[in-house]
Amino acid sequence: MRKRISIPGIVSAVILAAVAIAMIVGSFVTGAATKQSIMDALLTPGSSGHLLGTDALGRDIGLLAIAGAMSAVLGPVAIALGSMVLGIAFGGMAGYFGHGVDGFIGRIADLLFSLPVLLIAIVVAGIFDAGYWMTVLLLVVLFSPSDIRIIRSGVLEQVNLPYVEAAEMLSIPHWRILFFHVIPNVWNLILTNLLLNTSVALVTLSSLSYLGVGVRPGSADWGRQIADGRTIIFDNPAAVLVPSILIVAVAMSLNLMGDWVSSRNELRGIQ
């Protein structure tokens, strides 16, 4: 039963590592990547000095994609982390204390869970001209109901186990039992959902930036790059294809890693 390494798993890990490197490298080349020069506009892939060609503003497509990694990926990571913090805090309390606390938090989470996240993000961030981090914050709130529900159900499975009762017998404070005894036991659940949520957030945030919400015009970002590239889609398809493939590859890798973590968890449960 110890099937720990799979080929898709290795490929995803390599892709994610490459993106992490691109994020670091990208922050050094942002200036060069976003520099516009009409003289170099619309070069086709394979042009000298521009392997993937340039867009309508003369920006190198490969360089712009590397520089865009930070904006495209950092936000989603922050969204997944932030919403998980809310999930652990509120979902943990709802699952651990039950009764009124659970009823209150659960009701609100259920209510927010059925909201169309993308639509609300477009309307609120768009109307208020929200910047990048305000949009991220908004998505943290909109993503949290699913984390609250998941952590709640994970904690519910734990609260009736003997170790919790034992800890209560020792009159360890409740908050300590919850956050230092129970939560570490749902760690796999947390990790799985962090990965899956980062993937969903990547698609959501890039959809927003494609529509021109949350990311300033001219800045390096995959969604934005696709939006800028759509007018030259037949002159240089790479302008759209390169960032699109990157989004899909990263989102799929995150999904695969998430599935891998959760299946490892299930295997351990069987043993």
Binding site: L118, I122, I127, S207, L211, G223, L241, S244, A251
Partner: protein, 321 residues
């Protein structure tokens, strides 16, 4: 505990659901109304937009929105109008919001229904197939395809299809809505496939998981061992699996609402999604308000319908009246 909630009468259940939907709509309408006051800039100026700000126009806006009255009474007169379908005048289009919405409603309705039909017609058979062959190559392939559908943003898929069918294999029209009737449907093929992809990916996952659970249950094992034709057992299992599938369709709706905006933007389709996107970017608040209320209403109605169908699909809940 589930027995207890299962035995409450249908009327009581309906009344509670209806009341909660009304309450939520009330809350959303209040938030939507407040949007107008929260938008940066001067309220009257925002509502006048590009029209000349003559004293008459200003007076007309102030009268229409009752701006001289307290906030709450402004809200209630706005709500009273909204209940009659009057959301004011679009700033950008200079026509009543209700006219702007009803002119575009049909396009979006056809697009979403087509997408839904495509998604259901492909995803449920694929999900069942995946469950039957679980952990074998067929399943792995379908799961991978589903993973792609979940990971690919619909605007990227839309643009890729545009490129493929608009340039390399020009068999589908890529822009516009055609000349009505069959021609319009033909124009909507690519957009609805784009929209269907994400939907189908969700549906495959849900169908697969539900079918695997049903096929692993005692009644399925028993039916197989009695020598029932596998096809028959699959059909029985699918009927039971339909409960979680239908329940999840409320989630699919929230996906559709966002997806329509992206797909209509990519394919330049004059529907409600494009109207919403342009209204947001232009700060055309009355249109945003009207659309938000409409969407909230649709989501509320679909949620009630899903809850009802759940009760009818599950005999344990149906018989208990």
């Amino acid at each position: 505990m589930s027995r207890r909630s299962g035995t409450q009468s249908l009327t009581r259940f309906l009344v509670i659901r209806l009341l909660s939907v009304v309450l939520i709509l009330f809350l959303i309408s209040f938030l939507t109304f407040s949007l107008m006051h929260l938008v940066p800039g001067d309220l009257v100026k925002n509502l006048i937009g590009n029209r000349p700000a003559t004293p008459e126009a200003i007076a007309q806006i102030r009268a229409q929105y009752h701006l001289n009255e307290p906030f709450l009474s402004q809200y209630f007169s706005w709500l009273a109008n909204a209940l009659h379908g009057d959301f004011g005048t679009s700033i950008r289009l200079n026509e009543p919001v209700s006219t702007a919405i009803s002119a575009r409603l049909g396009m979006t309705a056809v697009l979403t229904i087509l997408a839904f039909v495509f998604a259901v017609a492909t995803a449920i058979p694929l999900g069942v197939l995946s469950a039957i062959h679980s952990n074998r190559p067929t399943d792995k392939f379908i799961t991978a395809a589903g993973l792609f559908g979940l990971s690919a943003p619909s605007f990227a898929i839309g643009l890729a299809l545009l490129m493929l069918f608009g340039y390399y294999i020009p068999i589908f029209p890529v822009y516009g809505i055609g000349s009505g009737g069959i021609n319009t449907l033909y124009h909507l093929v690519l957009p609805s496939i784009t929209l269907a992809l994400g939907l189908a990916a969700y549906l495959i996952r849900i169908t697969r998981a539900a079918m695997i659970r049903e096929l692993a249950s005692d009644y399925a094992t028993f039916a197989f061992s009695r020598g029932l034709k596998p096809r028959k057992v699959y059909l029985i299992a699918l009927r039971n699996a339909s409960i979680p599938i239908v329940t999840s369709s409320a989630l699919l709706l929230t996906y559709l609402v966002g997806g329509t905006i992206l797909v209509e933007t990519v394919f330049a389709l004059p529907g409600l999604g494009l109207l919403m996107e342009e209204a947001v970017l232009f700060k055309d608040i009355p249109v945003v308000q009207g659309l938000t209320i409409l969407i909230a209403l649709v989501i509320g109605v679909v949620n009630i319908a899903v809850d009802l169908s759940y009760r009818f699909l599950d005999p344990r809940m149906r018989d208990s009246q």
